[in-house]
């Protein structure tokens, strides 16, 4: 992997961020505080010359690991972010037919819907990638959502030549995915190259590390001795274990993740 490859990925992401900022208003960005959305924020600062000209939204379930909150509170003033914290509704209000961990994740979906309804966002930037999970592979860069946040994967707009769908009817919104073309390995290589800060939970301690960060009740560390970004990269170049292996909801049923996505999950 050459730095030329990373540069191409980065330049494309910057192009998408600028398209979103130019065409879609009001715009906000979801910040999970994980490695992907940190890299996305970093590129936003490049795209807008040191500014992040839209609110950065955290969907808070009060279940994040303490290291995540600490990282957030350090970065917000340092990067001069306009942080908006959205508290998600309790699990008791979720669809009780969903398996338990999926139900916990559904809280974020509801939080996001509430936020969009209240604030009237037309566009939400998200750091999801196609290689993460097979249903995400189906995504468009500019992906329209109905008023209920639903994703109709059968009826997606054509998207070609970087001519994105930028207009939606009132009440609907766009999910914008500037990292869709990146892989997990790309993100780590870029994080290393640029020196982007990360939550220390990604690095192994006592033979365990988090490969993906979620709420503490539904995300578990994997076995690993990778205690630096270099070691993570070396590990990824050989592993064939899926990234979301530590996410409980992905393993409860063949279609858990798909059900979450069609109802508006990230």
């Amino acid at each position: 992997m050459t730095s030329d490859h990373l540069r191409q990925l980065e330049q494309r992401t910057i192009y998408i961020l600028r398209e979103a900022y130019s065409r879609v208003k009001p715009l906000g960005m979801l910040w999970s505080i994980g490695k992907d959305s940190n890299a996305l924020l970093w590129m936003a600062r490049k795209a807008f010359f040191g500014n992040v000209p839209f609110p950065v939204i955290q969907l808070d379930t009060d279940m994040e690991l303490p290291e995540v909150y600490a990282f957030r509170d350090r970065i917000v003033p340092e990067w001069n972010l306009r942080l908006q914290v959205e508290h998600c509704p309790p699990e008791a209000e979720m669809d009780q037919t969903l398996p338990p961990a999926t139900r916990a994740a559904a809280r974020k979906t509801e939080g996001l819907k509430n936020l969009i309804r209240r604030q009237g966002y037309r566009g939400i930037l998200l750091g999801i990638r196609r290689d993460e999970q097979s249903t995400r592979a189906k995504e468009r860069v500019f992906s329209p959502r109905g008023i209920d946040g639903a994703w109709d994967f059968r009826d997606q707009p054509p998207e070609f030549w970087d001519q994105y769908k930028t207009d939606v009817p009132d009440g609907a919104h766009l999910r914008i995915h500037p990292l869709l073309h990146w892989t997990e390995l790309d993100i780590w290589l870029y994080t290393r190259q640029e020196g982007i800060p990360i939550v220390p939970l990604y690095l192994a301690r006592d033979g365990k590390r988090y490969r993906s960060l979620g709420e503490k009740n539904i995300t578990f560390p994997i076995d690993s001795n990778a205690s630096s970004i270099d070691e993570i990269i070396a590990e990824l170049e050989t592993t064939r274990m899926p990234e979301r292996a530590g996410r409980a909801m992905d393993h409860e049923a063949e279609d858990s993740f798909e059900r979450l996505r069609t109802t508006g999950y990230m």
């Binding site: 992997m1 050459t2 030329d4 490859h5 191409q8 330049q11 494309r12 910057i14 192009y15 600028r18 398209e19 900022y21 130019s22 600062r45 490049k46 795209a47 807008f48 010359f49 040191g50 500014n51 000209p53 196609r130 290689d131 097979s134 249903t135 592979a137 189906k138 468009r140 994967f153 059968r154 997606q156 707009p157 054509p158 998207e159 070609f160 030549w161 001519q163 769908k165 207009d167 939606v168 009817p169 073309h181 892989t183 064939r240 274990m241 899926p242 063949e254 279609d255 798909e258």
Partner: protein
Amino acid sequence: MVDAAQLRLVVVGHVDHGKSTLIGRLLHDTGSLPDGKAEEVRAISARRGMPVEWSFVLDALQAERDQAITIDTTRLWFRTARRSCVIIDAPGHREFLRNMISGAAEADAAILVVDAQEGMREQTRRHAYLLHLLGITQVVVVVNKMDACGFSEARFREVGSAATGYLARIGLHPVAVIPIVARDGDNLGQASGRMPWYGGPSLLESLDGLLVAAPDSTRPLRLPIQDVYKFDERRILVGRVEAGRLRVGDSLLFSPSNRSARVATIESWGPGNAPLEAGAGDSVGFTLDEPVFVERGDVASHHDQAPKLSPLFRCHLFWLSDRPLVPGRSLRLKLATDEARVSVETVERVVDTETLEPVDRTEVRRNDMATVVLRCRELLSLDPHAESPATGRCALIDGFDTVAGGVIDLVGFPDQRPTVQRRSSDLYMVEHLLSAEARAARNGHAGAVIWLTGLSGAGKSTLAMQVERELFARGYAIYVLDGDNVRRGLNADLGFAPEDRAENIRRVGEVAALFADAGVVVITAFISPYRADRERARAAAAGCFHEVYVRADLATCERRDPKGLYQRARSGAVAEFTGISAPYEEPEDPELLVDTAENSLEACVAAVVRYVVERTAISAG
């Protein structure tokens, strides 16, 4: 370690010819499946009582598994000996054409899958044609399911040459034609023991020989402006260098506005020095040495290799909407970062992808490929697709939906740049000390351009002179600009070539605008057959331009023939005569229409006089 750039591949072909199977098997054979995936596929296949179905690898969604069809574009990564590849899975179902386009539009190369037993089918041809339309030139043909035809070399040759023959007719030359068994992996990674007669490359070997399309820094600069930022005291223009190079100090020309300025700085954020140049593919930000007005949609280039300007262009497109495309239809155009309204001037042809012959209709239906001419009210900045892909292709939008994509062809459409007024940045408007109101108060009426347009012999000059005399008698400051008179002096240097005609009208429009600005009512009497020319005159006299369509049917004009011109045109002595051998584009929405064939001259004069009096009255503003 992989060194070559990543190859983006699209897999196309008729439904059930084995695209998904091929992809699943390729991923398996190159060791690209995540742990557990192969087992999962075996388990699902067994649960459904079928042999191993490699296509399940792709079927990530429950819904797809049930219907056993692939729904949408998927990205899948694998590695050959030399490089990493990403496959964009393209489904074969007819109604999923738009998904195929979404994937194929960004591919470097295509694998065209043809079933050895079935041979080329409708979608095989359609997809191949679409590859051609999307500008994909590298194609590998695989003849699949060789097991089902007894590994017959004769059958392979037959299917292979049918495919090659079709592709050749649309200008595509496959880099290889390979017999395979996707299900078992024959000739994917290595030579198959079951087809010893085949001595060509395996699929993976042939992929290693393909080129990755890279943004081209050696072509003329094209930098469509995305946005203008003013986060601080800097005014930063941003956009992606689609081709060519941008350097600090370059003098840039912005199109279609035709303004120019120099690059003062190239901006960046982060450590390191500000760059002095940027190449193709870079998303840049830069500042100018002068505060010229630039907005999203303008294309920056160098002066000597600028894009073309035209309100009209031909477009080879694919149509995705249920609502047919017909002449006159109005749509929104997206071209690089520009957006504009266009209308369909003509549908030149609809292509039958089976036979490659034109279909006998002018209505473009869902999933058709067609050639149309589109017209915009303003000049557009354009390039022929072959010269500059990024500024030579467009999408068409209807309401909220993308309904077409197409590539631009400018053969037969002259570059209108020479006729555009030069508004270079070193010209400044000098403010008069007198207001338009003061001039109007002195004259008792406002200035105006009364632009008569119509066929030769429709009565423009007669009408103009009568109206002039009538209003002069009423005390109006009024003057007629007539074709022949202007050609003697102001436009003595112009001939009758299309560019000269356009320039003739441009100058008249500008002069008329000055007259109106001076407070005079000026009547122009020119055929001015092209809408674009009249629109430009309208823009020059913004706010006080009145288009009057002096209409008379061709037969009447020909009967009148005051200058004997129709007769000479019919005999061929006068070339490109409006109405006979050159088009007259009727006004779409004139301010006034007078029909001299149906009404007396007096009635027509009275109608124009009444209109002028009303519209130039001081209270009317």
